[in-house]
Structures are given as C-alpha cells and as structure tokens.
C-alpha cells in the first residue's frame, strides 16, 4: 500500500472499516471538517487539530520574477497560502525510520590531520620525531652538512692532519658505532654496544676516563694539563683557520637503564704531537639505537673535524650545571694571579670537563650533566642543530635525558702558539656565563620584588584604614567631650527611672565629669540623637512573646530593620533578663522611637544599634 495516492473517499472507507461508523456520517464529517477549516483559514484563523497539527494561512509577499519564455519582468502578487504544520507527535511518528539518526559534528581537522602531520614533518625537521624515519633523515642531512664543512676545513689544514681526519671520517661514516682506531693512536676505547649495557658496565667505562681527569683537576699538573689541552685546541684551530668545537650527543633513557657508553682516549703522535682524549659518552635507549648511531656519527664527525675541546650544551639546566659554572668562574679568578693568561683561560674549561666527568660517574643512571660553552659560530650552529634534535628525541621518549657531551683532547705537551683565540674563547665563556645566570636570577629577583610590592601595598592600605579609624575615634572623642557637658545639664531635669542601663552608665560616667572618662565611656554615641537618654514612655503597641517570636522580628516589623531590636530590649529590661532568652508569654512593649534614632536607611543608626547590641550580648 505504500506510496499509494489516497483520496478522501478512500480515507472514509478506511475510517468506516476501522471504527464503528456509518459511511454516511464519515463522508459528511470529512466534508464538513475541511469546509470548517477552510472557513477558518479564510478568516485568517489558525486551526489546531489534536493529533494532526496546525493549519494556518500565511501571507506570501508579492515578488518580482521573470517570465522564462519572454524574459519579461513580471510581478507575482502576494497571496495567502494555506500551510500545515504537523504536530511534534505526528512529526516523530512520520520520522520514525530515521529517528535514531543524530546530527554529527564533523571535526575538520580529523580529515586532514594525517596530511598536515606529514607536511609538518617535512617542513619542521625537529618536530617530526613521531615518525621514526624522519629523524633519521634529519640526522643524515646533518651528517651531510657536517661532512661538507669538514671538507672545507680540511682544505685549510696540513695534508697529514687532513689525511688523518679523512680516515677517521670515513670510518665514522661507515661504522654506525663510533669506533675509531688509527695506528698512531693509542686508544682506550669503549664502543657503544648494539645491545644495551648494564649500568655497572657504563660506570666502569666512565671511570676509566675519569681517572685521567682527576689529576688534572686537583693536582699540580692542572696548569700543565690546561696548558696542553689548550695548546692543542689552539693549534688545531689556527691550523684549521677557525676555532673548532665538537659536539657529541648523548641520549639517555632513564627508564630503560640501558646506557651504552663510549669512552675514548686517543693519543696522537702526529706532527702536533697531540695526545687527544675523546670522551663522547652516549647513553642510548635501546629502541633508539639507530638514531643514536647516527648521532654518534655526527659526534665523531665533529670531533675529528675540529678535534678539540669543547662546548657542552645543556638542554636540561640543572643546579649542578650552574654550580659547576660558578665553580669554574671562581677557580678561574682564583688562579688568575698564578697562571699565565692562556692557562688561566683554560681553567674553566678543564675544570668543567673534570667535574663533568665526575658528574657523569655519579649520575650515570640519572642525568648526564652538560656544561654549555659555545666557542665558535660553527660550534653554535652544531649545538643548535643537536639541541633541536635532542629536544625532538626528548619529546619522543617518555623520560629521556638528553645530554650533549663534549669530546676533548688532552695532550702531554705542547707549546702555546697564539693567545688571541684564547682571549676570544674566554670572553665568550664569560658572556655565556652571564647570559645563563640572569635567567633564573632575574626570575627570583622578580618574584621577591613582587612579594615586597604586595606586602608594601598591604601595609599601606592597612595603615590608611588604621588612620581613618583613629580619625573617627578622635572625632568621636571630641564629640563626646562636648556632649558630656551638655548631657550634664540635661541630667538634672531627667528622671533616672525608665532610662536604659546604657543611659544610666552615661549618667554615672558623666557625673564624674572628667572628660577623659567620658571619652572612655561608650554610652554617648556619635550623632545628636544617640547620646540623648532614651525614654520609652510612648508605645506603638505591645506584642506577646509566643513560640517563634523574636525581638529582631519585632524590630523589623516596627522599625524596618532587625538591628533595632536593642531598643525594644531597652524598653523591656525589667521583663527580659537575657536578650537571647526572652521568656514566652510576656508582653513586649514596642516603644515609639525617634525617626532619627531608628532609621533603617541610616548607616549611623545601624552602627549605633550594632554597638548597643554588642554591649548587651556580652
């Protein structure tokens, strides 16, 4: 029967079939029904039919249109149109097949999200750690850049050094593990394992380089060490045409406790008779091993390229770092007198390294502390890129600590070639130092200053309030002193009976007529009306205390504010012993009050009433 077109007669038939109705009446009904609706619509009425909906006639405005055939503009006149608005009930019934459907909000991002992410990955290299392949590509690109740099640098260096570097570079680029040996090198070497090492192993490995550093840190050889190390750097830097810095990246994953470490010491008996000791330390999460290898490559590239001491980049600024920095500075200054310029300038770095070694030893499972020292622009760039990578890696893993470690070279002996670069280095070092500290120093100072300002403002406001209070009190004293004299005259003509206790107090106090005492007494209040003794002779009415009655309710009823209950209490002192516990059944006199005394709009009146209240409720 679906989609059939029914006429009125068919409806009538169905009606007759379903209900006990005669066909005649049904037919007539339908006819009349619609004629009634028609008439109503003609009159502009709306017809509401239960179970169906509403019929109404709606005015459609005249509008312009164009005759499609002729292109003429025609005006369609306004007209009434019968419209039917189905009842909700009917609407739901009809829409039942689709009733389970709900409007769905579409998130425009959800559709495009994967694409956007990919775009981001391609555009912002440091941010695409979420995809394992991207970082690798990034590192690869970096390696490329570094190699290019290296070749440039090598073009300035002597052939022998170049060859040496080249060898190393090749090795490092070929081997994922920074595993380097040359015939000329005496190496103490721990290569990062493909499999993660245990913590104890790492500690062992690190202890080896550390032993080398301890003497240089503490002993008399310190100066010599610094001297030598610096010499190497200087020599290399001069040879390469620019001051060199090398950076090594170490990823530490605390959680995994897997800390592949690499410690290398190389002794080079090259032309320079340099004995460099490189200690890049990599602590790598197992799952990130690939990435780390790339990083290690980068590190080694840097190391060999610039073969030098180094800058330590710190991502995680720890107290230890700062402490180290300060120590370095202090020691630097302390020894300034004793040592030559060059030595002195080297001290911070060497100290840093030594302490760094210590820190590494202590913190293997926790944090590798890095000390920042950017020496040259190249170094800075390298550091930046590595930093970015580190940040990426850090965000990727749950709790990774990223440390950029320095590779450094320590030599047996060497001569100082130039001092200019050392000056430069030192200046840079101090600049770094100063840059670093203010960040937290200023923060602390700022907080302290804010606190001071806050407390200052607080006390200032408090003082003002106190002063105001004092001023008011002084006024009040002056008032009462004057009034005390007036009251004394009034007293004579006044009958004590019927006075409130407060008034009596006033009388007593004033009788002494000592202005000071009058001042102390609370009875006379500010305002002309308040100090006058109250005489409750005129009554508005009397109220009987019943359960639920309250003086405050009476006060609200008769005076407009509950605070004025005190006057009712004063008027009924004989009957009421305790204002908090008024006996039931007694008649409460509601006195007639001076309008100036009980003005609910007047703050003075309310305050005075409150004062009395606090007095009576002691």
């Amino acid at each position: 029967m679906s989609n059939a077109k029914l006429s009125a007669s068919e409806i009538v038939d169905l009606m007759v079939k379903n209900r006990m109705i005669t066909k005649k009446s049904a037919e007539e009904f339908v006819k009349v029904f619609f004629s009634v609706i028609e008439d109503a619509l003609k009159d502009g009425e709306t017809v509401k039919i239960k179970g169906l909906g509403t019929f109404k006639s709606q005015w459609n405005e005249a509008r312009k249109s164009v005759n499609v055939n002729t292109g003429e503009e025609i005006v369609i006149d306004g007209y009434y149109k019968a419209v039917f608005i189905p009842e909700n009930d009917l609407r739901e019934l009809i829409n039942e097949p689709f009733s389970h459907l709900e409007p769905v909000e579409l998130n425009p991002l959800s559709d495009n999200l994967p694409e956007q992410m990919q775009d981001d990955a391609e555009e912002d290299e440091p941010e695409n750690f979420s995809e394992p392949l991207e970082p690798l590509r990034v590192f690869g690109e970096q390696a490329e850049e570094i190699k290019e740099l290296l070749s440039e640098i090598n073009s300035f260096s002597t052939p022998k050094v170049r060859s040496n570097d080249t060898v190393k570079e090749n090795e490092s680029s070929q081997l994922p593990d920074p595993d380097e040996k040359t015939e000329e090198e005496i190496t103490l070497e721990n290569t990062p394992m493909d499999k993660p090492e245990s913590v104890s192993e790492v500690a062992e490995i690190i202890s080896a380089p550390e032993t080398l550093h301890t003497p240089e840190h503490t002993g008399n050889k310190e100066a010599e060490f610094n001297f030598d190390g610096f010499d190497i750097v200087r020599e290399i830097s001069t040879r390469f045409g620019l001051p060199a810095g090398a950076a090594a990246v170490a990823l530490i994953n605390e959680e995994s406790d897997q800390l592949p470490a690499e410690a290398e010491s190389e002794t080079e008996s090259n032309i320079s008779e340099v004995l460099p000791e490189e200690i890049p330390e990599n602590t790598v999460a197992a799952e990130k091993h690939e990435i780390d290898d790339r990083e290690a490559e980068d590190d080694n590239d840097d190391d060999e390229k610039q073969e030098k001491f180094e800058e330590i980049d710190d991502d995680d600024e720890t107290d230890e770092n700062e402490a180290d920095d300060e120590t370095d500075e202090e020691s630097d200054e302390d020894e300034a007198d004793d040592e030559t310029d060059e030595d002195e300038q080297l001290i911070p770095e060497d100290d840093t390294e030594a302490e760094d070694g210590d820190d590494n030893d202590e913190d293997t499972d926790e944090t590798v502390v890095e000390l920042p020292e950017v020496v040259t622009q190249t170094d800075e760039e390298a550091a930046e890129t590595i930093e970015a990578d580190n940040t990426a890696a850090k965000e990727k893993s749950v709790e990774p600590l990223v440390a950029v470690k320095n590779a450094r070279t320590v030599t047996d002996k060497k001569k100082i070639v130039s001092t200019s670069s050392s000056h430069k280095r030192r200046r840079h070092y101090h600049v770094e130092e100063k840059k670093k500290r203010p960040v937290w120093l200023y923060t602390l100072l700022g907080i302290a200053a804010l606190g001071l300002v806050f407390f200052g403002a607080f006390y200032f406001v408090k003082n003002i309030l106190d002063k105001q209070k004092d001023a008011m009190y002084m006024e009040y004293l002056a008032d009462s002193t004057v009034r005390a004299l007036n009251t004394k005259e009034v007293l004579d003509s006044m009958t004590p009976a019927g006075d409130s206790i407060a008034t009596t107090d006033t009388v007593a106090v004033k009788a002494t007529d000592e202005s000071v005492q009058t001042v102390i007494s609370e009875a006379p209040a500010a305002g002309n009306i308040f100090d006058a003794p109250r005489n409750y002779t005129e009554l508005i009415t009397t109220e009987k205390m019943v359960a639920g009655s309250q003086l405050t309710k009476f006060a609200r009823k008769y005076y407009g504010h509950p605070h004025f209950w005190v006057y009712i209490y004063e008027a009924n002192r004989e009957a009421i012993k305790d204002p908090n516990n008024v006996p039931l059944g007694i008649n409460i006199k509601i006195p007639k009050l001076d309008a100036r005394l009980a003005d609910p709009a007047s703050r003075e009146c309310l305050n005075y009433a409150l004062k009395l209240q606090s007095e009576y409720l002691k």
Binding site: K5, A26, V36, K48, K50, Y79, K81, A82, L93, P103
Partner: protein
C-alpha cells in the same frame, strides 16, 4: 481555533452531538496518521494534499564557528494546498 472549537463548529454544522463528532474526528486523525505513516499520500479534493517527503542528509556549516555538522536525513509531512483552496483564500483581494 482549537480542537474543541473545531468539534463544536463541526457538530453544529452536522447537527450531531459533540461526542459523536469527537469520535469521528479521532477516527479520522487515526486513519490519517496511519496512512501517512505507511508513506501514502492523501489528497482531499478542493483542499490540498498531504504527503511524506524525505529530506536528504546535508552538511551544515555554522557561519561563525565553522563547525560542520552532518544533518541526517528525515521524513517530513508536507502539505500542498490545492489551487481551489488558494483561490478561496485569496478571493477577497
């Protein structure tokens, strides 16, 4: 005009008690609803026709928030007045 007034009007015209008219009206609405429910269109000569139309699903965009919302399809009752009724309604003008 509400239901009661309609009933009384019809009753007065048909000379029938209101109860009966009410009964007739209920019978009519019930039939009417049932037929519509079964997707039948109902035409009344000289008045208009009722039919069920399906409104297709559509995408609506909030002009301010730009939130795109998928509006599901639905079935609605549509009434089209007959030209006779239209003429009757507009006879005054």
């Amino acid at each position: 005009m509400n239901n009661k007034e309609l009933i009384s009007n019809v009753a007065s015209k048909m000379n029938l008690p209101k109860n009966e008219v009410k009964y007739l009206l209920e019978a009519f609405t019930e039939t009417f609803r049932n037929q519509l429910k079964e997707d039948n269109s109902i035409g009344f000569q000289g008045f208009g026709s009722f039919e069920i139309r399906k409104k297709e699903e559509r995408l609506s965009v909030h002009p301010l928030t730009k939130v795109r919302t998928m509006i599901p399809p639905k079935l609605v009752v549509s009434f089209k007045q007959s030209s006779v009724l239209k003429d009757k309604l507009n006879v005054k003008f």
